[in-house]
């Protein structure tokens, strides 16, 4: 080819095509000390169906973002959606968090990387054979020792087709990994009990086996003391976990709801009556 400018022009057409390729991964938006990538699980949206989208956060070493209950400080990411009519988001699905912090201040969140899942339902009347843009304004607090609030616009364009959905191979691994990190529904044969004991709640779990390690993350703030160590004691066919009550808990509680985690990718949602 003749001169460098022409070469660039020639190749830039292909790059443009790649960017506009439907279902391709959108370029990552930058947030303080990291990036967020807005990705789709399927190659197109099918009217009457549900498609999962992901907010894939990558953070620099040492920086973290927050779970739905941030713990002692911090704030979860907030998303304001701008969707075309006929598309509706469901509740964000949050992977099990980690305990982050010091002996006295404990937060719940994610460091390194996390993908939040967002289900989007398409109405049956959504017109096909065109593309739609899903956009949102994302606000996120990113912290290490200090916290930096960030705000960014994310968007993704996907075609609407009447054909059954097909998975986007470029993103499917991300979705598989994200689903594994989600807390699951506890098996029906597991029995839980929570007793109210003045300064603490004692959660008894009968799983039919011994468990050496367990961490409870309450969905609601101001119920459990976040920084108090959670003492685990073996009982027949299970364990007991002592959860110190929050100083902010002044009214009696009826149920204890949250995530019980045994190890990475081994977390369960529990909702237990307190007696």
């Amino acid at each position: 080819m003749r001169n460098p400018i022409e070469v660039i022009c020639f190749f830039s057409r292909f790059i443009l095509v790649l960017i506009l390729l439907p279902g391709a991964r959108a370029s990552a938006a930058s947030i303080p000390h990291g990036t967020v990538d807005f990705v789709a699980e399927n190659q197109w949206i099918t009217p009457g169906g549900q498609t999962y989208f992901g907010l894939n956060f990558q953070l620099e070493k040492g920086w973290h973002i927050y779970w739905i209950n941030p713990g002692d400080s911090g704030q979860p990411p907030r998303v304001e959606w701008h969707l075309p009519s006929g598309l509706k988001t469901g509740e964000i699905e949050w992977p099990a968090p980690r305990r982050l912090g010091t002996p006295t201040i404990v937060d719940f969140g994610y460091d390194h990387a996390v993908m939040l899942l967002v289900p989007v339902r398409a109405s049956t009347t959504l017109p096909t054979n065109r593309a739609v843009q899903l956009a949102a304004e994302l606000r996120v607090l990113v912290c290490r020792e200090i916290c930096i609030p960030g705000k960014t616009q994310i968007s993704l364009t996907l075609p609407i087709k009447s054909m059954p959905p097909e998975v986007n191979v470029q993103t499917s691994e991300l979705f598989i990994a994200a689903r594994m990190s989600l807390p699951r529904r506890a098996p029906g044969e597991w029995k839980f009990n929570v007793s109210d004991q003045k300064d603490s709640f004692v959660l008894t779990a009968k799983l039919g086996r011994h468990m050496a390690r367990a961490t409870f993350f309450p969905f609601e703030e101001s119920q459990v003391d976040n920084s108090a160590p959670q003492k685990i004691m073996p009982v027949a066919a299970g364990f007991q976990l002592e959860l110190r009550k929050s100083d902010q808990l002044l009214k009696p509680m009826k149920r204890l709801k949250g995530v019980l985690e045994f190890s990475a990718n081994q977390a369960y949602v529990i909702d237990v009556a307190i007696n």
Binding site: R139, L141, I146
Partner: protein, 207 residues
């Protein structure tokens, strides 16, 4: 040189000031007593304010949540409004040297003048002694002590745990609510909330 001596004396006072191991304070219980040196060079003793309502405000000028309430003028408004009614207001800075929000006396005085802050005094707590005796976790965290020395409110400044100043209008301000009820002789309805904001940058914390 003279300034250096005064500063070292100040620092010694703060460092050597009565360290005490007390269980963390709780709503309904007596507030742990403290002695603190303020940016105005005066020493304040909590016990001297028996008979008055006292507000404690944890502060870090680099924290986006503190900035939300100062850049909007919200905190200064509260300080003026309540000190005008005889309430004592201590801004407390528990950031350790080298950590976000740490200031010396001059730095804090300059900041307060620039922001139009109007607390009774800003206490410098670089050792975190006062902060830890109250188990202060965030900035801004607010604690209210009644004239009998009992903690009647501990928690957030309001019910919108964000760093966005737009959220101030229309928020329920828990300090106004608690002081309003307490000064009217009524029990404080919302006595404990989750304090929101940045973690207090104590000495030794990496977080």
């Amino acid at each position: 040189m003279k300034r250096l001596i005064i500063f070292s004396m100040l620092f010694a006072l703060v460092v050597l000031g009565t360290p005490q191991l007390i269980l963390a304070a709780k709503v309904g219980q007596p507030a742990p007593d403290f002695t603190g040196t303020a940016s105005n060079n005066q020493t304040y003793h909590l016990a001297d304010y028996h008979g008055k309502f006292v507000v404690l405000e944890w502060h870090n000028n680099g924290c986006p949540y503190t900035q939300k309430h100062y850049n909007s003028g919200n905190m200064q408004k509260l300080q003026k409004q309540w000190t005008a009614q005889g309430v004592v207001w201590f801004t407390i800075i528990s950031s350790a040297p080298g950590k976000q929000g740490y200031v010396d006396a001059n730095g804090e005085n300059t900041y307060m003048a620039k922001m139009g802050a109007a607390p009774t005094a800003a206490l410098l707590d670089p050792t975190g002694t006062i902060g830890q005796s109250f188990d202060a976790k965030t900035t801004p965290q607010m604690i209210i002590i009644n004239p009998q020395g009992v903690i009647i409110y501990d928690g957030a400044i309001d019910n919108r745990p964000t760093d966005d100043a737009k959220d101030i209008a229309g928020a329920t301000n828990y300090v106004n609510l608690a002081l309003g009820q307490a000064l009217a002789g009524k029990p404080v309805e919302t006595a404990a909330t989750r304090p929101y904001g940045c973690s207090v940058k104590y000495k030794g914390s990496w977080f």
